[in-house]
Amino acid sequence: MATDIILPKIGFSMNDAVLAEWLVANGGEIKEGDPLYTIESDKSTQEIESPASGMLEILKPVGETYDVGTVLGRIA
């Protein structure tokens, strides 16, 4: 079963964030808990870990602002 990579709300007043970087290439393998992407929000950059293990499918490109809850990619 594929796991969605969802932009989390990790700051009290955070409603959106810029997807800064994918730390794994499209189609690459990732382990649950390993750093997967970085976001810029509330003037800081944060690394977000992978919610699952498997192969990464990137759905959203970097450099854009996305709302909390946006599905950025999938792990299958």
Partner: protein, 328 residues
């Protein structure tokens, strides 16, 4: 702690560890779920404070009452809140303890004595007095625990509630969990006394400052206070010293917390200590403890998946459960 206070027996110690582990695993899982984007919620971590409600609640009856504040999931879990009801409520789903209409800051389940989680600092104490007054009038022998933090002891309602509870000899325990921070402000920066417990003498009740991370001290002192309340002798103020490992709310990195003090508190984490003691004293084996811990992980998986699969409350639910006589 006073030398003559009771100490927990082997099975009670194991039960304290079981409750504290449930609380810790739940807290860690909540961080993981929020960071995975599966749920959006305000979350006030209780990491570091688990021993207090765990060692207290083993002396409570099922029908005793607790009142707590938004940093109170540990109090509710220790009193027996089911993970399924909790997670559905955290997610705002109809299967939650408040049918999804309370949310993370208002976990309430009167069926097991969790009478209120309030979002207002200092507001548990007058509510606890009301419950205790009702118990006294009806003679049902129930005891009420009013949980609050060190910051709340500077709120007017604390002083009013202690005065009235002492005057009327109410069966209530004022349970101050001194985690050293009032939101983002240190205890010393906003409190005129060194110990909250000294305030008890102004209201003619016993006051104790104890190590809230020590299961023996916490158990013994809570037990004495509960017995005193149940016997109709009146309230007690307990100040249990502890330390909040995380920031005020999820997303707060705690940069204002003294780094050395914080590292020392985390290094002195009472859970691994209690775990090692249980094994050393032969109360439980490594395998038995591991089975408890793994069991909670499975229960958490189930509770979270069920919560996410449950519906949100319907719009017509908005006006229900507000007044004694339904309006819509």
């Amino acid at each position: 702690m006073e030398a003559n206070f009771p100490r927990p027996d082997a099975q009670t110690l194991l039960e304290i560890y079981r409750k504290a582990t449930l609380i810790r695993r739940n807290d860690d899982r909540a961080h993981k779920v929020i960071r995975s984007g599966r749920m959006v919620m305000p979350f006030y971590s209780t990491k570091g404070q688990e021993i207090i409600p765990s060692a207290l609640s083993v002396s409570l009856n099922a029908d005793d009452y607790i009142c707590t504040i938004y940093r109170g999931i540990h109090d509710s879990l220790a009193k027996g809140l089911s993970l399924k009801k909790l997670w559905a409520e955290l997610g705002g789903r109809v299967t939650g303890s408040c049918k999804g209409k309370g949310g993370p800051m208002h976990i309430t389940d009167p069926s097991i004595g969790i009478m209120v989680t309030t979002g207002i600092v200092g507001s548990t104490m007058p509510i606890a007095n009301g419950l205790a007054w009702a118990s006294k009038l009806s003679g049902n022998k129930r005891v009420t625990i009013a949980n609050f933090g060190d910051g709340a002891s500077n709120i007017g309602a604390f002083h009013e509630a202690l005065n009235l509870a002492s005057l009327w000899k109410l069966p209530v325990i004022f349970m101050c969990q001194n985690n050293r921070f009032a939101e983002h402000t240190t205890f010393a920066d906003c409190t005129a006394v060194d110990k909250v417990s000294t305030r008890a003498s102004s209201y003619s009740m016993p006051g104790y400052t104890i190590d809230g991370n020590d299961p023996d001290e916490m158990y013994g002192t809570a037990r004495i206070a509960i017995e005193r309340a149940r016997a109709g002798e009146g309230p007690t103020l307990i100040e249990a010293m502890t330390y909040r490992h995380n920031g005020h709310v999820f997303g707060d990195d705690g940069h204002y917390m003294d780094a050395e003090e914080r590292a020392a508190a985390i290094a002195a984490d009472p859970l691994p200590k209690l775990r090692a003691r249980l094994i050393y004293d032969g109360i439980a084996s490594e395998d038995e403890i591991k089975a408890i811990e793994d069991g909670f992980e499975r229960e958490l998986d189930e509770a979270i998946n069920e919560a996410l699969a449950s519906p949100y409350p319907a719009l017509e639910e908005m006006k229900r459960d507000i007044f004694a006589h339904e309006i819509g």
